[in-house]
């Protein structure tokens, strides 16, 4: 449901908080194109910063960020934790396994508890679609969605767009307006269970890319055409002419029943091999949000291919992207000029 708006001619986005008039970051579907561009531009400031030996800023000094992860995570949690710490905030991690959720406390009560501890931002991952939005409605501080069920994972889509921009810029192929206009992206894997796919479809399309989605029929949700993505079951056809190939993992933990005969059979039809990659555009970029199942959806020699695979850059961009999101969303609380007034969208 992204509304595609044209940025003002003078700049890409309005001044002050009108550039990003949201209290929370819950879904790419709620963002306008110029708001996505704003976050990407902000993140680019942190990319160079993160490459210095001294990586400590004081922008968020004194603020408390709670990472409330109701579902297991390694890389996203670590990425958010490092992002918060590099900005100078006090970061506290709450794991569901250690929390009172196990003792029967409701999600709302947990949210109220976190709120009462006066967090300045809460980062939430939860296994149910819509859960993060539900919590956001009950707390007083900005909420960042680190993945809710099969709904959205907005920072992943943003960091993927950031990694693409960095790569295209280095190749001298990035459009001057910072969008990904005309870029042909093929997303292949367990689309049905993937919040990464949903956020990426919306984000990439908002930035002007053409999105193809490929999966076996059982893992392909209905109504993709209504969302503007072209659906494929034939991976070879989906790869033809692609500039970017984004592979997704099989989310066995979310599957209710058997969706594919075996991992071996899956690789036979949908594994990204060197031979398959050759069907894509000559210099096609390979991406994967991780964790990878090497030898299933992606072969090791493809995952590690220099100049083509940007999987480790994606991880690097994750920290910068999350720093930007935390920094932007706390501007009002920190009294940054131009970010104080007005209603939230």
């Amino acid at each position: 449901m992204t509304s595609v708006t044209t940025p003002p001619a003078s700049s890409r986005y309005p001044a002050g908080r009108r550039a990003f008039p949201h209290r929370d970051l819950i879904a790419i579907g709620a963002l306008a194109t110029h708001e996505i561009l704003f976050l990407l531009d902000e993140a680019e400031r942190w990319v160079a910063f993160n490459r210095q030996p001294q990586k400590r800023a004081e922008a968020l000094a004194g603020l408390t960020i709670i990472n409330a992860f109701f579902e297991n995570s390694t890389r996203t949690l670590l990425s958010f934790e490092i992002a918060g710490k590099r900005l100078g905030a006090d970061v506290v991690n709450m794991h569901a396994a250690q929390s009172s959720v196990k003792k029967g406390e409701t999600l709302i009560d947990t949210a109220m508890t976190l709120n009462a501890m006066r967090a300045d931002a809460i980062v939430i991952r939860h296994q149910s679609s819509g859960a993060v939005g539900l919590i956001a409605g009950k707390v007083d501080c900005p909420v960042l969605n680190a993945g809710d069920g099969q709904h959205e994972h907005p920072t992943q889509a943003l960091l993927d767009a950031l990694a693409l921009r960095q790569t295209l810029r280095a190749r001298g192929e990035l459009a001057s307006d910072g969008t990904l206009t005309g870029l042909k992206v093929t997303i292949c894997g367990d689309v049905l269970h993937s919040r990464v796919a949903r956020s990426n479809m919306l984000c990439l399309q908002a930035l002007g890319a053409v999105v193809r989605v490929c999966a076996p029929p059982a893992l392909l949700p209905m109504g993709l055409d209504m969302i503007g993505a072209e659906a494929f079951t034939d991976f070879d056809a989906a790869l033809a002419g692609a500039d970017v190939v984004m592979m997704l993992r099989l989310q066995n933990e979310r599957m209710d029943g058997q969706f594919i005969p075996s991992p071996r059979e899956y690789r036979h039809l949908y594994g990204l091999t060197q031979a398959r990659l050759a069907l894509a555009g000559g210099n096609a970029i390979v991406m994967h949000p991780g964790p990878m199942n090497r030898g299933v959806e992606i072969d090791s020699d493809v995952a590690d291919m220099p100049g083509r695979s940007i999987i480790t850059q994606q991880v690097e961009m994750g920290v910068a992207m999350r720093m930007a999101c935390l920094e932007v969303l706390t501007r009002r609380a920190r009294g940054i000029a131009g970010w104080g007034d007005g209603e939230w969208v």
Binding site: S129, L134, G149, R198, G257
Partner: protein, 409 residues
């Protein structure tokens, strides 16, 4: 409570199966005595001031006995689903449930088809019938085992009981909370194709046809399943179909923002299916509109969408939602009250639901134009989980009699 003194309602527009007629209605000894007679000496005379005089609604079916909500909605009788805690799978529990609404509300228990509603072993259906069960129901879930379903239908046919089924193929439905399509995909909700309903309907119709059992599909909500019902009726199969207002008022767009008040079972459908339900109401394929009244508090609803319990508090909004179909020209008033009272009374085999001499004097005065706004925070029901929150509606019960005894007004 017995009716002490005859009542004659004058100045009303009587909703009868033959149409709306301007006549008096006389109630005596708890029954409807006559239509069109002048008040007798000693009658209590009530001036309806041009309002509708209609049969009290017979709600088939509900999950909770919730008198304040039923009376607000003009409901004088309700079929109670066996999904109670513990389930209505034992004669003693049926007997207790049958008396649980008296004197001003009649509860007609529906016997659980299988022990514990597990879908495996038949329950003591004959004994429950003799304890007051008016039909037998599979409950919230379908019976997966077609062999069990066949034996249930055979047995119910012998006993002369209607079999009320929930038609959703469990294998396809799985843990789905939405109908597969654009909305479910955008929200990332577990979803099942609409065909899950048609598959179950096809099987249940085949078994009904084979056994001669009377089958009532409690909710038929998809174009495909409605076509199967239409065709079966044309062949003369003893099948009837019901629906709740949610499925003709709302499509799955109501799921936007993960609103758990729109979490229903079966789930809300895409717009084309909603249109199919309206067509089926117009052409008579659907026989019954029920509230499915299932009040759920915040502990069941203030949760992530897929974790929330399905169901809506529907008793108070049943009448105005069906009257909206009359205003839209889909059905006329006679048919509206047949959907909400006449047909469900026939289904349950109770002497009510129609303004005819000899029927129980369950009567409602209805102002069909009276505007009001549904407010989830201020409902008579035990909980305000309505997907129609803040919706302006028209039509309200202004007086209600159960067996000739005034409840409201």
């Amino acid at each position: 409570m017995k009716q002490q003194r005859p009542i004659t309602i004058t100045g009303g527009r009587l909703v009868t199966p033959a149409g709306v007629v301007e006549k008096t209605l006389r109630l005596a000894d708890g029954l409807i005595a006559a239509l069109g007679e002048s008040p007798a000496e000693g009658d209590q005379v009530i001036d309806a001031r041009g309002q509708l005089v209609a049969p009290g609604l017979v709600d088939c079916c509900v999950f909770t006995v919730d008198k304040p909500a039923f009376h607000f909605g003009g409901i004088t009788r309700a079929g109670l689903m066996p999904d109670q805690n513990p389930p209505l799978d034992h004669p003693a529990r049926v007997r207790f449930a049958a008396s649980s609404g008296k004197p001003d509300m009649w509860v007609h228990p529906l016997a659980a088809a299988t022990q514990g509603l597990a879908g495996e072993q038949l329950a003591e259906i004959a004994m429950m019938r003799d304890a007051g069960a008016k039909a037998v129901a599979t409950g919230r879930a379908w019976i997966a085992d077609s062999g069990v379903m066949l034996r249930l239908m055979q047995y119910a046919a012998m006993l002369g009981l209607v079999v009320i089924t929930h038609a959703e193929d469990g294998g396809l439905a799985g843990k789905a909370v939405a109908t597969a399509g654009e909305m479910a995909t955008r929200l990332g909700l577990p979803s099942a194709p609409a065909e899950a309903e048609a598959l179950a309907v096809a099987r249940d119709i085949a078994l009904a046809e084979m056994t001669g059992a009377r089958l009532h599909l409690r909710q038929v909500t998809t174009r495909g399943a409605l076509a199967l019902v239409r065709a079966a009726k044309a062949r003369g199969v003893a099948v009837t179909a019901g629906v709740t207002p949610a499925h003709f008022m709302l499509s799955d767009l109501a799921l936007a923002g993960f609103r758990t008040f729109a979490r229903l079972s079966p789930p809300l459908r895409p717009e084309d299916d909603r249109q199919a339900v309206i067509e089926a109401l117009a052409d008579g394929t659907i026989d019954v509109v029920a509230s499915g009244h299932d009040p759920r508090g915040p502990e069941d609803k203030r949760l992530p969408f897929a974790d929330a319990a399905p169901g809506m508090a529907g008793a108070e909004t049943l009448l105005p939602m069906v009257l909206s179909l009359v205003r839209d020209g889909v059905i006329d008033l006679s048919r509206a009250f047949d959907l909400m009272a006449g047909a469900p009374a026939r289904l349950l085999g109770v002497n009510a639901g129609v303004l005819a001499p000899g029927a129980e004097a369950d009567v409602a005065l209805v102002d069909p134009e009276k505007p009001w706004v549904v407010d989830a925070r201020r409902m008579e029901a035990q909980a305000g989980n309505t997907p129609f929150d803040r919706q302006p509606v028209q039509g309200r019960v202004t007086a209600l009699w159960k067996g000739g005894v005034a409840i409201r007004g």
